[in-house]
């Protein structure tokens, strides 16, 4: 079992796990679901990028950010700005007072494209911006806070405040950002109509591809020396510091990485759903994204993906039939996951399913990654099977 395990960053059970997820997302779901439902799954998967970032940031490094919606939103808005500029070409906006600028700017008596919109005429710049803008923002925030050894609860509250600030800013600056409605009516990507069914199916596969690539990246980070330092830091920060590591640099790095991952999710969300609005930026969506990770298992890369799919699927089906019950369900989920199964689905799987599957498949069939069950953040967790 460990023949290849030491030289390659994926253990056999990880590879099997990723393969099962890939088959599920690339083959099983597209074959069994109709287009409408498949687009839902595509939308959920964009949140999975955020959950993935949170596994690295929260699960491994112990930094709980309640502002991941900020990065999701920044990525989404970068993409939406590009699409909006393309959709508001001079021919399309002839009826406006100022043709060639987005419609909401025209409604708000703005006659010239603001400077920060200008570069979003280019797709190349946009793609770089999607990755870099949130990372720079995360760097500034993370650098300022981690260098001063602010962590834990304070960091959570401040990131939450940032989410609130950005939402108020976007809603308030209607002329520059589209306000509460967000940026809507997006049509084409470099001339390719993204509203058709076939385009949406292609985007779904692009999204799955990017997600699988991000999962591999996350596994790589996790198995590298960096990943080990992150875990060590979470469990005994002072000891890592006294061993000569600059703890804050690692924290800043993982926070920026999580931000970029969230931003990819946001950009894919804009492409698949066709709009972006401040309702995906604020406090409520940000903390909901944390619960996806918590339900899936904050220590499990694949668990977070399943958690995201499961919670969103439950949300959609509950709020379709019993809209009142959903908030009870979501609230109960928050409490239950914290009180009774802090390691989420992946933790339950490790404790109850994996030991039984072990003898059947010679121990190689572990679906979720078999991290040695470390306690979440700090303190006591139910000791799962080694």
């Amino acid at each position: 079992m460990t023949k290849t395990g030491r030289t390659f960053f994926l253990r056999p059970q990880d590879m099997i796990g990723i393969a099962i997820l890939a088959i599920l997302l690339l083959v099983v779901l597209p074959l069994t679901l109709d287009n409408f439902r498949l687009q839902f799954v595509g939308k959920y998967l964009t949140y999975a990028f955020v959950a993935l970032g949170l596994v690295l940031c929260w699960g491994y490094a112990g930094i709980l950010s309640l502002g991941q919606g900020v990065f999701f939103g920044l990525g989404g808005y970068c993409m939406a700005m590009f699409l909006k500029l393309e959709a508001s070409s001079v021919e399309n906006t002839k009826i406006q007072t100022t043709p060639g600028i987005p419609d909401f700017m025209d409604w708000n008596q703005i006659t010239q494209l603001p400077w920060f919109w200008e570069p979003f005429h280019h797709l190349g710049f946009t793609i770089i911006a999607v990755l870099v803008v949130p990372a720079i923002f995360a760097f500034v925030v993370g650098f300022a806070m981690f260098k001063r050894r602010v962590g834990g609860v304070y960091f959570a509250i401040i990131t939450q405040a940032l989410a609130a600030i950005l939402t108020i800013l976007i809603v308030g600056q209607q002329g520059y950002t589209g306000g509460i409605n967000g940026i809507t009516d997006l049509r084409t990507l470099n001339g390719w109509d993204i509203r058709t069914d076939s385009a949406k199916t292609i985007l779904y596969f692009v999204c799955v591809g990017l997600l699988l690539a991000s999962i591999l990246l996350a596994y790589f980070v996790k198995s590298s020396k960096l990943g080990r330092i992150l875990v060590a830091m979470r469990d005994k920060e002072d000891r890592v510091r006294f061993s000569g590591y600059d703890v804050s640099n690692f924290k800043v790095f993982v926070f920026c990485l999580a931000a970029s991952l969230s931003a990819i999710g946001g950009a894919m969300f804009t492409l698949q759903v066709g709009f972006m609005s401040p309702s995906f930026v604020g406090i409520v969506p940000s903390i909901e994204m944390v619960i996806y990770t918590a339900v899936g298992g904050r220590l499990s890369i694949l668990g977070a993906i399943y958690g995201t799919l499961l919670v969103n699927w439950a949300k959609t089906s509950f709020s379709e039939s019993f809209p009142e019950l959903w908030l009870f369900g979501l609230g109960g989920l928050f409490i239950a996951v914290v009180l009774t199964f802090p390691n989420g689905i992946a933790g339950l799987y490790q404790t109850y399913v994996a030991p039984r599957l072990g003898p059947l498949f010679g121990g190689a069939a572990k679906r979720s990654d078999a991290t040695p069950p470390a306690p979440p953040s700090s303190g006591h967790a139910p000791a799962a099977a080694e």
């Binding site: 300022a144 602010v150 509250i157 940032l162 108020i168 009142e324 989920l333 009180l339 802090p342």
Partner: protein, 308 residues
């Protein structure tokens, strides 16, 4: 932005906005006091704090309805009854929650944040199902309505003055309780060194439960006061929770004096700017400056040295 106004006008604008800021300050202080006790003294993040406040507001609303319909002769004093009921209702719920949920999570502060967020969602939905989604407002007794003219350009509302007086009274009461009473001594002992406090015979679990209950009870009173100046809906509590947390963190979590000072700074900054800029810009600027100051001085304005 100042050039459009004469000096006298500017003066009265600042006074009026300062007064509006004082009302906001009172609400902040009342909410933040409870939060500062729970967060500062116990290290628990109570995201459901706003919902405890709203419970107090609903209690006040129903008390006012009860007085209006059954004993209208005593309507003038219903508020004092309502306040006491609100304190005990929120406090009792708080103690139950501490027993059922929080005490299992003392070693995992980040998890209390998630669990209490879940609690706040549940409570919001309970309020919506039980009391209806519409906002409700109480009818003020006659002596609280109207305003007092100070100069011909400046006048102050009586209900605002009342809320301020109430805030001062409660703050003094909390300070006396925390720093002069035997019980406050126990609480502070548990904060400084839990194991040692237990060793000298303090029942730390009981202290925890009553502290949490007290914090929630004060939130209930805050909700009661809140009905004087605004209407109450199932989600009103959530609007204030982030601001209040910033107030507590900005002030330095363990210091009650710091909480009051930061509540004052934030509310005055916000309401003065609100007059000259739009409401959202004022709020963004206020929150942003608080966050930036916190990045430069993460321990908050006032710090008590606690050995950890």
């Amino acid at each position: 932005m100042f050039s459009d106004y004469s000096l006298a006008e500017l003066g009265s604008i600042f006074v009026m906005q300062g007064f509006a800021g004082l009302i906001l300050f009172s609400v902040f202080v009342l909410m933040a006091l409870g939060l500062a006790i729970i967060f500062g003294q116990m290290g628990v993040i109570n995201m459901a704090h706003g919902e405890f406040m709203i419970l107090g507001a609903y209690v006040t609303y129903f008390t006012s309805q009860f007085f209006l319909n059954f004993i209208p002769s005593l309507f003038n004093i219903y508020f004092f009854v309502a306040m006491i009921l609100a304190f005990f209702a929120s406090g009792a719920l708080g103690m139950f929650i501490e027993w059922a949920m929080i005490r299992r999570l003392y070693k995992r502060p980040l998890d209390t944040l998630l669990a209490t967020w879940g609690l706040s969602l549940i409570l919001q939905q309970v309020y919506r199902s039980v009391f209806g989604p519409r906002e409700v407002g109480v009818e003020l007794p006659e002596w609280m309505m109207g305003s007092l003219p100070v100069t011909d350009m400046v006048e102050v509302q009586i209900n605002g003055l009342f809320v301020m007086g109430l805030t001062i009274a409660i703050t003094v009461a909390v300070a006396v309780l925390m720093y002069k009473s035997n019980w406050g001594k126990q609480v502070r002992a548990v904060v400084q060194n839990r194991v040692m406090a237990g060793a000298v015979g303090i029942n730390t679990e009981k202290v925890d439960r009553y502290t949490f209950g007290l914090g929630c009870g004060i939130a209930g009173v805050a909700g009661s006061a809140f009905t004087m100046i605004g209407s109450t809906g199932p989600t009103s509590g959530q609007l204030y929770i982030v601001d209040t947390f910033l107030v507590v963190v900005f002030g330095g979590a363990q210091s009650l004096l710091g909480t009051i000072a930061s509540a004052f700074t934030i509310s005055q900054a916000q309401s003065t700017m609100e007059f000259f800029l739009s409401g959202s810009t004022a709020k963004v600027l206020t929150l942003l400056s608080v966050v930036i100051i916190l990045m430069l001085r993460p321990q908050g304005l006032f710090v008590i040295k606690v050995r950890r």
